[in-house]
Assembly symmetry: C2
Homo-oligomer: 315 residues x 2
């Protein structure tokens, strides 16, 4: 037994969060299509509130709470976009947010979280430090923990991006989200495999953080160990839940090297004027690295976010 979200949960999430998030546009770019040899449809979650799809899941989680739980607030550990998204959603509902952030998080992301009125507690940049600091914060406040991805409310929220994409571009052959912890990929998998089972679903992952690729290949959940990719939104490991959901719906996971991620990111900036973070460029990198597989097809790519440190670009 499990409480994985269904398409009904995703539809309910879409209704619940609609007043608080953007219906993001789907962009196309003739010159990138020429390079890729395919028709690409970019779901621009970089233009989402807080600059990333994470606004969807966090908002759904916060507005799903009953009043009593909500009054005690919410808490999480996150290196960035989920933290900003949860802080913003809590602010919209008028409840406190307690955020545990690694001391190594980019300044622009810390500033965004603080700007939404959340209380930040810094910790060492290790999983152990995050979890112990979070336990301490949670014990003190009684706040509800909203995990960045291992939470059915969060996954249901993330699934609304694909729901919009299928409405905006009904004639897709392929849909591809990036895979980090698997929240976006799981929500996308439930939406697409339920509504449009004929669409081919691929996940895209950095080769330098290929825990999901190896886990699906061996049908064994492996943790992400010392990943080194510039796609800093994709460092985390799958959970049992997201692993289970991805196994049930993905055709597979395509891994891409760092150079191709940087090239794809630069193409999106230079040719399409789409300002994505490195993680957001990973699906395009996977298309470019697997030209034969996607040639001539209509491919929907979910661009996860656009929060970059403009003082430290990868080129």
């Amino acid at each position: 037994m499990h409480d994985d979200p269904t398409i009904e949960d995703i539809r309910a999430a879409a209704t619940r969060i609609a007043p608080h998030i953007h219906r993001t546009p789907v962009a196309t770019c003739a010159s990138i299509d020429t390079i890729a040899g395919a028709s690409l449809f970019f779901k621009c979650e970089n233009l989402q509130k807080v600059g990333a799809f994470k606004a969807r899941g966090a908002t759904n989680a916060v507005f799903s709470l009953d009043d009593e739980a909500a009054a005690r607030g919410v808490c999480t550990h996150s290196s960035g976009n989920h933290a900003a998204a949860l802080a913003r959603a809590a602010g919209l509902r008028g409840i406190p947010a307690f955020i545990v952030m690694p001391s190594s998080a980019p300044p622009v992301k810390k500033a965004a979280v603080a700007g939404y009125g959340a209380q930040i507690t810094e910790c060492e940049p290790t999983l152990e430090a995050r979890e112990s600091t979070l336990a301490e914060v949670q014990g003190r406040s009684g706040a509800t923990f909203i995990h960045p991805y291992d939470d059915p409310r969060v996954i249901a929220g993330q699934g609304t991006a694909a729901l919009e994409l299928l409405e905006q571009e009904p004639k897709l052959d392929v849909v591809m989200p990036p895979v980090g912890g698997g929240g976006l990929a799981s929500g996308t998998t439930i939406t697409v495999s339920t509504l449009r089972p004929e669409i081919e679903l691929w996940g895209a992952e950095p080769a330098e953080a290929d825990d999901a690729y190896r886990s699906l290949r061996d049908n064994t959940l492996y943790p992400s160990v010392e990943p080194t990719t510039i796609a800093d939104g994709l460092l985390t490991s799958l959970s049992e839940r997201t692993f289970r959901i991805l196994c049930g719906g993905l055709a597979g996971i395509l891994t891409v090297d760092e150079q191709t991620i940087k090239y794809a990111m630069r193409l999106l900036w230079e040719r399409a004027k789409i300002l994505v973070e490195p993680s957001g460029a990973v699906p395009l990198a996977a298309v470019l690295a697997n030209r034969d597989r996607f040639e001539g097809r209509r491919v929907g790519l979910i661009l996860s976010g656009g929060n970059t440190n403009l003082d430290k670009l990868p080129w």
Copy 2:
């Protein structure tokens, strides 16, 4: 007597170019609105074909030619976006384009022009060298010269951006384009002052290239002398035609310093994920530098383009 375009010419241009250009979106950004103290509507010409509004005027000019003139091709001198726009439009019509470019033009802009199949002739980066080289190219080919802004067909095309903006956001109090040679500003002036004379129209110009500001102030056409701004799309002087049109419709021109242009550009990238070139950030800079004038108002800003050299950002 003059042949300045009318609103009918601009409407005809809109119909003529519609199959070949994007109807660009109008973006908003809550966090920039908070900083500006106003409601800002960004007309995203950075997402236009060739990455700039110049696609409008060049396409209108090329598709206005009769078949006999068209067969001999078109030519121009341009440091960038107009060149790419003319090259692309000529390619769409299947006629030759001859482009005179200064040897100092950014590599990304040269590559774009060459990619559209135009013949490039390089020259020294002076107005004199441009004009003599162009005369030579024109004499040899018989091509029609399409000036980057001192041309009624080009101005009519540029005026279609404001035509769309007024449809997309009917409740604006203010409209503001950047001012370089005055093609975009002239087209915007004709559209807005004819259709919505109650809207306040301001031009935005770098203080380091303030020939239009001084010209309107003194009612005397001054040339732009050794401008030094990072807004490299706004280096050119007004022509008698664009000066006359701007005098007839602008409330005035607001000048902004380089630091504010850089700050505005970075805000657009970081907060709104809108990748503009420095010239495109000049209107936002003018709003930020004149907070009292625009406070609480609904301001439409035309973001001219997004073609930047990503290896050489101003921060």
